[in-house]
């Protein structure tokens, strides 16, 4: 299993042995000067050899961003971010590798250690991987196999050059450059990410996967993913993320856009395991991400599944715009917070077309002194006759010092719509723990088992290998939460 084999333990082990001391000397890095201004935006665009239209798009986004205020409505707290104290571009130096043979071997080693074999012969059959290291995509596997069926899977920077008409048509069409503060920032400075195009009628022959890693210090990661499924196409896409332990916070502001045309299906799964900070809340990633899918075609379907265990702060609302008649949106989420982590996550389901349906299953787990908020919008537009939504939000508390909050917003402008909302909050009961322990399970194993049971409805939506990893990750993330 390529994407998330590592757990926090592995990341910590890697850090202790390698990154902390030697990594930056192992790989020579190119970084632009700190700070954000028009010149930096131009520099990024030039570095990527981008066409004029894209530079103009970035500059417009930058101007928009400058006029915007950082949002403060989420239930998260953090000191002000000094956007001029960050690096906006960091990449292994030298020309971009043209094939796997040209990738720095120590970089391949790192991915190997994280359990992501980029070598195609070594990789498990059935999963193609795009690895994004700091600001650039370093390797994409199985591209030739995929291209035989017409599937394009490549770094978005390459897609800009090789398939400009597709990028131009769809980039920013779901998340406009000025959509929100962090999306605008991303639009101005995004460095790389994955691009996927599944042509009409094609079922993507393998799972696609992107593995994101932030490595460099003081560097923001701003990747951008664009997935297009044409009429009748289908694809399952997996995303995994990790970062080394750092005492300072690091910003990750990504944008993901999905477009599904008539009868197309996109399944997007995330296992997010960014460094969460230490037990006292020092360090960790600020994960401020905009993910949105547009079900443009009739009977199209977009399904988001996320397991969020990492990051100091998660601010993320993978959403669906259900435009096509009969289109389907799904959001399955497990968000786990421990120690001082904060998560404000949920979804937006915008019903525009007739007979559109959406399902939201959210499982929040809070431990330590963490705060975990579900925030979700279900909006039924006047034309969405026969729209249906089912929402279930369950919260599980471990210990007495954490918080769980559920903030649903429901707006219905069509009388024929049916909306259901269920919510529960529970604690792991003492009798459940004792029952498990009396059978021989340690307290931590018992918590892991109970939490995995609580999340079952979501975990079963993940591709098999991912589900196994996610289960382990949940257990590891809760270490030290009891007793």
């Amino acid at each position: 299993m390529p994407a998330v084999v590592e757990t926090r333990e592995t990341v910590e082990a890697l850090n202790a042995s390698k990154y902390k001391y030697g990594f930056s000397t192992d790989i020579a890095m190119d970084a632009f000067p700190k700070g954000l201004n028009e010149d930096i935006v131009r520099l990024i665009s030039a570095k990527k050899e981008e066409p004029e239209w894209l530079l103009a798009w970035r500059l417009k986004a930058f101007a928009t961003w400058q006029a915007m205020e950082e949002p403060d409505w989420a239930r998260v707290k953090y000191p002000p971010i000094d956007y001029n104290d960050l690096y906006y571009y960091a990449a292994p130096s030298g020309p971009a590798p043209k094939s796997l043979d040209e990738v720095d071997p120590s970089l391949l080693d790192m991915y190997e250690k994280l359990g992501i074999p980029l070598n195609e012969r070594a990789a498990l059959a059935g999963v193609a991987v795009d690895a994004v290291f700091d600001s650039v995509s370093v390797a994409t596997t199985f591209r030739e196999t995929l291209s035989k069926s017409g599937v394009i899977f490549c770094p978005i920077s390459e897609a800009v050059r090789a398939h400009p008409e597709l990028v131009k048509q769809y980039l920013g069409s779901v998340v406009p450059a000025g959509d929100n503060y962090f999306a605008a920032l991303n639009s101005a400075v995004f460095s790389d990410g994955s691009f996927v195009f599944i042509p009409k009628g094609v079922r993507c022959p393998m799972e696609l996967s992107t593995y994101f890693r932030i490595n460099a210090r003081n560097t923001g990661q701003f990747e951008r993913t664009l997935i297009i499924a044409e009429e009748g196409a289908s694809v399952s896409y997996l995303e995994g993320c990790t970062a080394p332990m750092r005492d300072e916070n690091q910003l990750h502001a990504a944008v993901v856009e999905l477009v599904a045309l008539d009868d197309a299906k996109i399944k997007y799964s995330t296992v997010q395991n960014w460094y969460p900070g230490d037990a006292d809340g020092r360090g960790g990633i600020y994960n401020f991400v905009t993910k949105r899918g547009a079900c443009r075609g009739r009977n199209s379907k977009i399904s988001w599944t996320q397991v969020e265990t990492g990051s100091a702060i998660t601010w993320k609302y993978p959403s669906c715009i259900l435009q096509g008649d009969g289109s389907v949106g799904e959001f399955y989420s497990v968000a786990l917070t421990h120690n001082c982590q904060q998560a404000d996550t949920g979804t937006k389901m915008i019903h525009i077309g007739k007979n559109t349906t959406s399902t939201i299953i959210s499982k929040g787990i809070s431990a330590g002194r963490s705060n975990n908020t579900y925030r979700g919008l279900v909006k039924i537009m006047p034309g969405a006759s026969g729209a249906r939504n089912f929402t279930q939000c369950d919260s599980l508390l471990i210990g007495d010092n954490c918080g769980a909050h559920t903030v649903p917003y429901i707006e219905s402008r069509n009388p024929s719509a049916k909306i259901e909302h269920e919510a529960t909050t529970s604690k792991i009961a003492e009798d459940q723990l004792f029952y498990c322990r009396s059978r021989g399970l340690s307290e931590e194993d018992a918590v892991g088992l109970i939490v995995n049971g609580f999340c079952k409805d979501v975990l079963k939506e993940l591709p098999m290998e991912f589900a196994v990893e996610a289960q382990k990750l949940l257990a590891v993330s809760l270490e030290g939460s009891v007793g």
Binding site: Y435, R437, S438, G440, F454
Partner: protein, 247 residues
Amino acid sequence: MLEIKNLSARIGDKEILRGVNLTVPDGEVHAIMGPNGAGKSTLSYVLSGREGYEVTGGEVSFNGQDILAMEPEARAAAGIFLAFQYPVELPGVGNANFIRTALNAVRRARGEAELDAVAFLKLARAAIKSLSMSDDMLKRNVNVGFSGGEKKRNEVLQMALLQPGLAILDETDSGLDIDALKIVAEGVNALRSARFSALVITHYQRLLEHIVPDRVHVLAAGRIVRSGGPELALELEAHGYAGLEAA
């Protein structure tokens, strides 16, 4: 062998056990009977290490080990099994996964090799068959939606698979119809051997018709007030517990 010497325990400020003395040699089944509030469930929880039960005096050893100093899971690894009066539901946790995880935790602690899913299922299906239960039992979530009888049978199934050295059955007969009672009793009887002992806590004599004890003890007001052979259970059934507390 289980040896309880002068065991006292309380919940909060309330003294429940006031000097229990009891020895259960290997190979024997002892019944503990007594009125409500005598401390029967407290005794079972103190023996299995539940939080909130404070031991204020005395000693308990099992096969020479001081178990009062051990965590509940260590006691399980040492071979102590508690069949709950009210088995607990674990939503979303598959029964097979639960029992296998428990079995492997115990096997690990004992230095035995863990069982993979296939080996475990083989074992579990054999146990289910010998207990006249349905395979369905393994697929469902732990005790969720189980009838009272099914929950108790699930306890017996877990016991059969964990192969304890000492089983404590806390009113396992409560809420059981006669057929379920027989299945539970057969489960216990099947484990009887020179290396197995059991403490059967019950209100009623009827379970003891099916699990014939070697000794019967009466617990009243936190002490063992009478001990005898199986005939003591019949006597209690006929005359009740009245007057015993004062004895």
